[in-house]
């Protein structure tokens, strides 16, 4: 019998190394490296050149290597209220989206999870079906539905319910509607994943012990599905803060979001350094919720 190439201990050590290296490598290549590049540009000044910003490092006449860091961009985004207002309205959009996707998504996920196994797969498929069409097309479809001579207004006018088209496009209402629509699956899927694992016999036991359905839900179902609620909320909240397409297409002229502020800096002012500064500030803003998610998941895993 020939000796194995790796001893058991060695294979386990290598496996462990891989298990740690892959996520860290992923983090390094797809998050940290791009972030550092953006952070570097944010400390530069704009120039009309390729690339359109000054190099941070230069050679002085006496041969010294000079590193120049400009913090003016950070001063700018804190001194002009427009950026803070943009951050605030992006956070508000994201928060409203989380609340409404949760209110709509929870009953939906609960309904799917409580069906027999035969029905769950097709129902889940229906939730994911919109992903088969381009996001942009789906948002454009909402324009067709909401516009003054669109589906809703034409139908209501024809029925005689209204005599003047409703103003339901290009305003904050349309932005919320579009965002809730766009992010609903991101709430439903993690909620479903947790509700599906729910031990239904616990609910029966609570009922047998005399709890009314409302109390069963409040004291048993809700606490047990809390991890799903947290995961879903963060999964919706984080991308929703940076959402650009929905407010741009469905919002009115007064819709100010961080995505639009970034666009202005990058394209209208062709100022990549300030655009990078806005992006860095956004990441810093999102680090809080991200850490919270990390923390919560770590705690959940430690639970017996």
């Amino acid at each position: 019998m020939s000796a194995p190439i790796f001893s058991n201990a060695q294979t386990r050590g290598f496996g462990r190394f891989l298990a740690v290296a892959v996520p860290y490598g992923w983090f390094l290549v797809f998050f940290l490296a791009p972030f550092l590049i953006v952070a570097k540009i944010s400390l530069s000044t704009a120039a009309t050149a390729i690339p359109p910003y000054e190099s941070l490092v230069s050679w002085a006449d006496d041969g010294a290597l000079v590193l120049t860091l400009h913090f003016n961009n950070y001063k700018l985004i804190f001194s002009d209220p427009v950026y803070l207002i943009a951050y605030a309205s992006s956070l508000r959009n994201a928060a409203v989206t989380v609340i409404f996707t949760l209110l709509l998504g929870y009953p939906l996920a609960y309904f799917i999870a409580s069906r027999s196994a035969k029905w769950r797969a097709p129902l889940l498929m229906l939730v994911m079906m919109p992903f088969w069409t381009s996001f942009l097309i789906r948002v454009y479809a909402w324009i067709g539905i909401l516009k003054p001579n669109g589906v809703i207004n034409s139908a209501l006018l024809w029925l005689g319910v209204i005599d003047k088209p409703l103003d339901i496009l290009n305003n904050q209402f349309a932005v919320y509607l579009g965002m809730v629509y766009a992010y609903l699956p991101f709430m439903v899927l993690p909620l479903y994943a947790h509700l599906e694992k729910l031990d239904w016999s616990l609910l029966e036991a609570a009922g047998d012990l005399g709890a009314r359905p409302a109390r069963v839900f409040r004291e048993v179902t809700l606490p047990l599905s809390m991890p799903g609620i947290v995961a879903g909320s963060l999964l919706v909240f984080i991308p929703a803060v940076g959402e650009y397409i929905v407010p741009t297409l469905l919002g009115g002229p007064d819709t100010l979001t961080i995505g639009a502020a970034l666009w202005n800096e990058f394209f209208s002012n062709h100022d990549w350094p300030v655009a990078s500064t806005v992006a860095v500030a956004l990441v810093v803003l999102l680090v809080g919720p991200l850490m919270a998610l990390q923390n919560y998941q770590a705690k959940e895993e430690q639970k017996p």
Binding site: A46, A47, T48, A49, I50, P51, P52, D80, P81, V82, I85, K147, P148, N149, N170, G252, P253, D254, T255, L256, A261, N264, F266, F267, S268, N269, H270, D271, W272
Partner: protein, 367 residues
């Protein structure tokens, strides 16, 4: 993004990862990056047939998009079509383009000398750019709806959009204004009797104050949707490119729903935009690019695009080949007395750009 471009990106990514560089393609190819709906569909196939060069044709809808791509470097494009003011002007300074080898452009003599002279102010000796198309920024409106609301309205004047009292009357009917400060500040300055090319901060602020007064009457600030919105009757007046207004007018006619669109060069004067053809400095196929430029400078070739998109080309000898409907339209080929009122704007420094963008955000959002 076209699938071709995506494949190039994947390949480039793969090459980076494995440290290999793909061999340059042997076949003759040309990568063009132009505005959407900005060429006659027969032109590229005719060029491919005449030269055997295979063309990849990608589209953009804003100068800003083009500038962002070129700024990053290594775009891979051989032909791009930037607007002269303020984009190509500053891009030349930034070293984005290569000088054109005019010895290879035997059709150069057909170009419009007047336009070339206007362009020389930004492109000394016309070293880098040749004109593609040129139009104006104008008013387009729904004739019947406006007649109903303002029977004796100042339809030939900037007052329609830049007089708060007049604009307020048109509010419910729907006003759309381009979402681009460089195309909206000049007419606002002009409506106040100021120099439309002003770079003075106090004058720009005065123009912003005027635009702020018009703001409550504006339904949408947008640079693309207004074509269909005007043609469908969703809005009744718009501020935008003359070529877009012509497209809206023709789409409305084709739809046959009784929407009648008029295009007007305001009597106070209008901003002339000139879209130009340039070769990026790092273009991989310069020879093919020069062949393409020479090909489209043939009067009968460029005339087809001119007729198709209802706009004047930068080729003076092309007019006889343009359809009479386009050639005889005074908003496309303005008569000399109108041409006198038409102005151009020049590039501005970063501080002025920032001020204008900031004022524009304030106008739109109130912050």
């Amino acid at each position: 993004m076209s699938s071709n471009k995506f494949r190039q990106m994947l390949l480039a990514g793969a090459a980076l990862l494995i440290g290999a560089v793909p061999a340059p393609a042997a076949e003759a190819v040309l990568n063009i990056y132009n505005w959407n709906d900005y060429i006659d569909p027969d032109t590229v196939p005719a060029f491919e047939k005449a030269t055997g060069i295979k063309v990849t044709y990608d589209l953009y809808d804003a100068n800003e998009t083009l500038e962002a791509k070129l700024s990053a470097g290594g775009s891979g494009y051989d032909i791009v079509v930037p607007s002269l003011f303020p984009f190509a002007a500053r891009q030349i300074k930034g070293g984005f383009y290569q000088p054109l080898d005019k010895s290879k452009l035997k059709n150069y003599g057909h170009l419009d000398k007047g336009l070339l002279a206007r362009m020389a102010a930004q492109d000394a000796g016309n070293a880098y750019l040749v004109p593609w198309m040129s139009g104006t920024v104008v008013i387009g409106y729904n004739v019947d709806k406006i007649k109903q609301i303002l029977p004796n309205g100042p339809v030939d004047s900037l007052k329609m959009l830049f007089d708060p009292a007049v604009a307020a009357k048109l509010k419910d009917c729907g006003i759309s204004i381009m979402d681009s400060p460089t195309e909206v500040f000049p007419p606002a300055l002009l409506a106040l009797g100021l120099n439309p090319d002003s770079k003075k901060a106090d004058e720009l602020k005065k123009a912003a104050a005027l635009l702020m007064k018009v703001r409550p009457s504006v339904r949408r600030y947008d640079s693309a949707e207004y074509i269909n919105a005007l043609a469908n009757g969703d809005i009744c007046i718009a501020w935008g490119y003359s070529s877009d207004m012509q497209v809206a007018k023709h789409r409305a006619q084709e739809a046959g729903k009784g929407v009648n669109i008029a295009v007007v060069i305001p009597k106070e004067g209008a901003l002339r935009y000139i879209d130009t053809v340039a070769i990026p400095k790092d273009a991989p196929h310069t020879e093919a690019a020069l062949k393409f430029i020479d090909f489209i400078m043939q009067p009968e070739v460029i005339a087809k695009t001119s007729s198709k998109i209802y706009v004047m080309s930068g080729n003076a000898d092309a007019k006889p080949f343009v359809t009479p409907e386009v050639a005889n339209d005074p908003t496309i080929f303005p008569p000399p007395e109108v041409e006198k009122t038409i102005y151009t704007i020049t590039g501005s420094d970063a501080a002025t750009d920032r001020l204008r963008t900031r004022l524009w955000t304030e106008i739109k959002t109130g912050h």
